[in-house]
């Protein structure tokens, strides 16, 4: 019977060593690298706001429908869809609080979303996804936005270009809350458009 116990123990210990302990020793402490382009260390450390925004991304559990990884060329159509110019590599993720490479693409991949659209689009899209993407089934995040009375001049943060039915009443405007702003800051920080020794861009 000790044989049974030992066998059970070693089976799990074997995979744990092989898949976690050994890789952790080899790639559990990757460092950013200085690139010749501008001498900066890549991947760039996200700004403080972007790092806070990651928490909002976690809270809304965006990973459920959005991956953050570009598959290699020829494996799927990630390159052709414009989701990235090179395959994602572990070094891209060293600053993640939680690693959210994801396993589902009910929505498009976001590994390079910061390289594709600007803040205005993000706010519009988060407020009502149907206003930018017809037929989208993404939930709206209106609760991250505030309806406020317009001051003398409209706030420079106020959303413009509403979908029919979304317009605020006369004299009011819709502005992003702090959480919406940091979430967008995080989304803008998502880009893997630099070249790493182990991940060359395809042009």
């Amino acid at each position: 019977m000790p044989l049974l116990f030992l066998g059970i123990f070693f089976c799990l210990a074997f995979s744990w060593t092989g898949l976690i302990l050994y890789p952790h020793m080899h790639m559990g402490n990757l460092k950013p690298v200085a690139l010749e382009v501008d001498g900066m260390l890549y991947p760039l450390r996200p700004s403080g706001l972007a790092a806070q925004g990651e928490q909002v991304y976690i809270q809304m559990n965006c990973t459920t429908c959005h991956s953050q990884q570009v598959r290699p060329k020829g494996f799927g159509a990630d390159f052709e869809r414009g989701w990235g110019d090179r395959q994602s590599v572990p070094r891209d993720y060293i600053y993640n609080k939680q690693n959210m490479i994801g396993t589902n693409r009910t929505g498009p991949d976001l590994a390079n979303i910061g390289d594709r659209v600007n803040a205005e689009w993000h706010h519009k899209h988060l407020y009502n996804p149907r206003s930018t993407s017809k037929g989208s089934i993404m939930p709206s995040f209106k609760f991250l936005y505030k309806l406020q009375k317009q001051g003398k001049a409209p706030s420079h943060e106020a959303l413009k270009g509403f979908a029919p039915g979304d317009e605020p009443p006369e004299g009011y405007e819709v502005v992003p809350s702090h959480r919406a702003k940091i979430l967008v800051e995080y989304l803008l920080s998502l880009k893997q458009n630099y070249e790493l020794p182990e991940g060359k861009l395809s042009k």
Binding site: P23, H26, M27, P72, K73, G74, F75, E80, R81, G82, W83, Q87, S88, V89, P90, N112, D115, R116, V117, N118, E120, W121, K124, H125, S131, T132, S133, K134, K160, G161, A163, P164, E198, G199, K203
Partner: protein
């Protein structure tokens, strides 16, 4: 459905147990006594064919692992790496403006103008058939270089949004490519935009930081 009825207690007749509780609760006609004995295993041998199949499977997987393990290197992430190594060198892609333009468009423009070039009614103007785009190339080049904001009428529909600046993000060659692509996609048939035109306009605009408005563009010759 069965009608509600109280269970009938059957007298427990064989008084061979002392445990009072057992008498009360365990009616011999009830489930536990209707069970068959505890399960046990038979002794059929493992079929030989299955054994052979398992050996083959294990062998096949060994071969697979040898081929796709790349010496357990932690810095190889593309399983097709061996194809590239076999080919010796990667072929340079020929720079075709329309192909590259489509790539740039799909990555940077489809979120608003959509893959169909039709935009989103009420939010984002269409590119297919837009006279702003298909007229003289100086207008779209300016829009791409410096952005466009404020009310604009496109093919009899009103829009009021903001188009971001791409002048810093893309080279003249890339701007010429993406414009050439959109001017010829979806049935559009305007001439391609030359790299030289973009360079010229970029120089003319200098370090202007203001975005364009529709009225200003209308005066562009």
């Amino acid at each position: 459905m069965t009608p509600p009825q109280k269970p009938k207690k059957q007298p427990f007749e064989t008084a061979q147990f002392d445990d009072e509780a057992l008498h009360g609760r365990h009616d011999p006609a009830l489930p536990v006594y209707q069970e068959k004995g505890e399960p046990f295993e038979g002794n059929s041998e493992m079929p030989f064919a299955l054994f052979v199949a398992v050996v083959f499977l294990a062998f096949g997987m060994g071969v697979y692992l040898t081929r796709y393990s790349f010496d357990f290197d932690f810095f190889i992430y593309d399983h097709n790496k061996h194809l590239i190594l076999d080919a010796g060198s990667i072929k340079e892609e020929v720079w075709d403006p329309l192909v590259q333009g489509e790539k740039i468009f799909k990555k940077n423009c489809t979120q608003c103008h959509q893959t169909t070039g039709l935009g989103v009614p009420g939010s984002y103007p269409p590119l297919a058939g837009s006279s702003w785009l298909l007229g003289i190339d100086a207008i779209p080049v300016r829009v791409l270089l410096k952005g466009l904001e404020g009310p604009i009428e496109v093919e009899k529909a009103q829009f009021n949004g903001a188009m971001p600046t791409f002048g810093t993000k893309f080279s003249d060659k890339q701007i010429a490519a993406v414009l050439s692509y959109v001017r010829q996609a979806w049935g559009n048939a305007a001439p391609a935009v030359q790299e030289g035109t973009v360079t010229q306009i970029r120089q003319a605009l200098g370090d202007r930081s203001r975005v364009f408005s529709a009225t200003e563009l209308m005066s562009v010759k």
